[in-house]
Subunit: 419 residues, 2 copies
């Protein structure tokens, strides 16, 4: 009876009260496993965390002291709904590195670019609307689009990024079904999870198709400045300003703990973004915005991005060389920047089903299914090399190879015994 009592307490007495959109919030199937992953003996290739230890803390201490000396009272007060004016001016310099020429008036600072995307989705998506996205696409974006009850239509994407022909096909298909396409979401540089970059010659083609079809583009670019050898092609936003909403972030070029990102949007959309932000948050944190503003004003932030580039390039090399050594027969993307490899498993292996075995072998990754809104992706997995040391990346991929090879052996045994 005491047990029964306890169960009764755990029931949800408000089950009949939730809004329809609350039903869209599902616990990730792999979430439970990830609590195991934080154990030190597990090499996690799952994360997606930047290696913030490469950021010298004295740079931050200086930014903190300068900020409090110069504008301490403003830093701890409410600020404007659009974000700090000086920080927005500095962001213009950052975006200019990728060819973007914009007005400070059209920028909105957000609580991480995730919240920028959440607000955009809220502004545009009614139930059943279509979002076009790369296949695979960023798991956090898929979660948001689902939450706003949209249909996610993945567009075929290869080593040069999204295929313009496939984009046109997907648009035609959606139109034939009478569906309303609200926008195209894409991560053109070192995409999460694929690691691929949209090639320079495909960019104007994608743009032209969207312009002709009157489809808004959401260009999400958290990794663009983290290239290894040569800069990425100019941003889509550098070629058009009316049809593109551009999202940027300090999470990867500085640190994610501040939760500061930004959105550059055409004026009418920007106005609505500011109102949405005032409604949802009143204003973004003055404190974290001004810390970053001081850092940009006084620290060698370009040199720091170079440092990050060096760290991630070394880790990418470690990951690719371990793949070559331990899993030479598997196809993987070869990123020119960013955090991720996208690995194709032998046919018949399901990366989600295999994950518990991998965690038992003390290595973790993210199964491909996380990056598709349509239930596919079983044959792929994402390796994130940004956080573990090169040595641990090697150990992790060796363990991964053990798991995959065991699976392959088992499959062959069964298939032989079936003959």
């Amino acid at each position: 009876m005491p047990n029964e009592q306890q169960h009764v307490t755990n029931l949800d007495s408000w089950l009949d009260s939730y809004a329809a959109r609350a039903e869209t919030l599902a616990v990730s199937e792999v979430r439970a496993l990830f609590s195991v992953v934080s154990r030190p003996e597990v090499v996690s290739l799952a994360g997606g965390m930047p290696y913030v230890a490469a950021l010298p803390q004295d740079l931050l201490a200086k930014a903190y002291n300068d900020m409090m000396k110069e504008k301490g009272l403003l830093a701890i007060q409410y600020g404007g709904g659009q974000g700090d004016q000086k920080l927005r001016e500095q962001i213009l310099e950052l975006m200019a590195l990728e060819g973007i020429n914009a007005s400070v008036e059209d920028l909105v600072v957000t609580t991480g670019s995730q919240h920028g995307l959440d607000m955009l989705a809220g502004l545009f998506l009614d139930e059943g609307d279509v979002v076009l996205a790369e296949g695979p696409s960023y798991v956090g974006a898929i979660g948001i689009f689902r939450h706003y009850e949209a249909h996610i239509e993945h567009v075929y994407t290869d080593h040069d990024g999204m295929s313009p022909e496939a984009l046109q096909d997907s648009i035609d298909k959606m139109k034939a079904q009478g569906k309303k396409i609200k926008f195209l979401y894409l991560v053109p540089n070192f995409a999460n999870p694929s690691g691929v970059t949209l090639s320079a010659d495909r960019r104007p083609k994608i743009l032209e198709i969207c312009k002709r079809e009157h489809i808004l583009i959401i260009e999400d670019n958290p990794y663009g400045l983290l290239y290894f050898d040569k800069p990425v092609p100019d941003a889509l936003r550098s070629m058009d300003d009316e049809g593109i909403v551009y999202l940027g972030s300090f999470s990867k070029i500085l640190a994610p703990g501040f939760r500061v990102g930004y959105v550059l949007a055409p004026p009418a959309i920007r106005d609505k973004m500011v109102l949405a932000q005032e409604s949802a948050l009143l204003c973004p944190s003055s404190f974290t915005q001004m810390m970053i503003s001081e850092y940009l004003a006084n620290a060698d932030w370009k040199g720091q991005i170079d440092t990050f580039r060096g760290v991630y390039k070394e880790r990418k090399d470690a990951a690719l060389s371990a793949m070559h050594e331990y899993l030479p027969n598997l196809e993987t993307t070869r990123p020119d920047g960013g955090f991720y490899l996208w690995v194709t498993l032998p046919e018949g292996i399901d990366s989600k089903a295999m994950l518990p075995l991998a965690v038992k072998e003390l290595v973790a990754y993210t199964p491909g299914t996380a990056f598709y809104g349509d239930g596919t992706g079983q044959r792929y997995l994402r390796v994130c090399y940004s956080y573990p040391t090169p040595e641990n990346i090697k150990v992790g991929i060796k363990r991964l190879a053990n798991v995959i090879n065991l699976q392959t052996d088992l499959m062959e045994t069964f298939s032989n015994s079936g003959r």
Copy 2:
């Protein structure tokens, strides 16, 4: 022609793309005026800003240094979707001051309590659902409920807070109309904008009605610890844990620039809040959470709250004595804590229509209409005394009296000339 060209550019080419909920985002009618208010010659009684200059900056410097020394890498990294464990434990101590006994597992740290309320509204409100709220009610809450297309039903509220009898009447009325009531939203202590406190004997009555009618209560309590003479009655949440979601904030007892608040909710709602937060933001800022956690661990935060109490009490006294001196015939609430007076104007004066005249006289306030979701409130205005000095409060209220007296004289002249 160049002008026409410019107008064309300003048109919104995405007008046909927005979601239905985007229509609910309206620019505040008084917003344009408020840009004028920031001029130094204007005494603003409009704001709602805490007086953060009363917080010694060395307390923050110590918190920053301790944080970076002890957990610098965690502070700038992504954190969990529920918020920092240690901060959540410390929040329990804070809530215990108002009689709340809770588990750290049921707390979610949010980006200000505004975002907690936004997420709750998103979890519960479908179009046309009813939210019960005090009349008047917090402008930021009204904005959120409107954004989720809810109907806001104001419940009669007097100097002892919301009337239980009126609550029952409102419930009966909504039920008779076949409407679905999703929750009761209230600010029981030194409410924004009325300044009134829900009396101790009404609290169990409100609770009992909601329990019987199966209506969830959202208890929003940013001001409770800022009492002037004696502590507030125990929180509603101290008397019930299944039917109440409790919102708290560091914006008024520490500083709003951090954007840190919290939500205490029954387990099933808490689970959904964490998922909603992960979807919207990934996680709240580790940096600002850990700053506050260090501050709570090492600074005399209770002494600091006493300091704030002293500041606000002095300003409330200045405001009431200026009201007594310059506007002796007007009815005003007499708050026992918090930031606000609620003033009833002579019949026939419209506070929104009068605002431009007041700004011309170099004083600003917030018109009563901002605090009603039903278009009423013209006869009231909110005076916020938290930010200006006592001397400026006196100057501001004197100017306000000039404007009101001129209006009254005009009315009398017209009414005499009409005889």
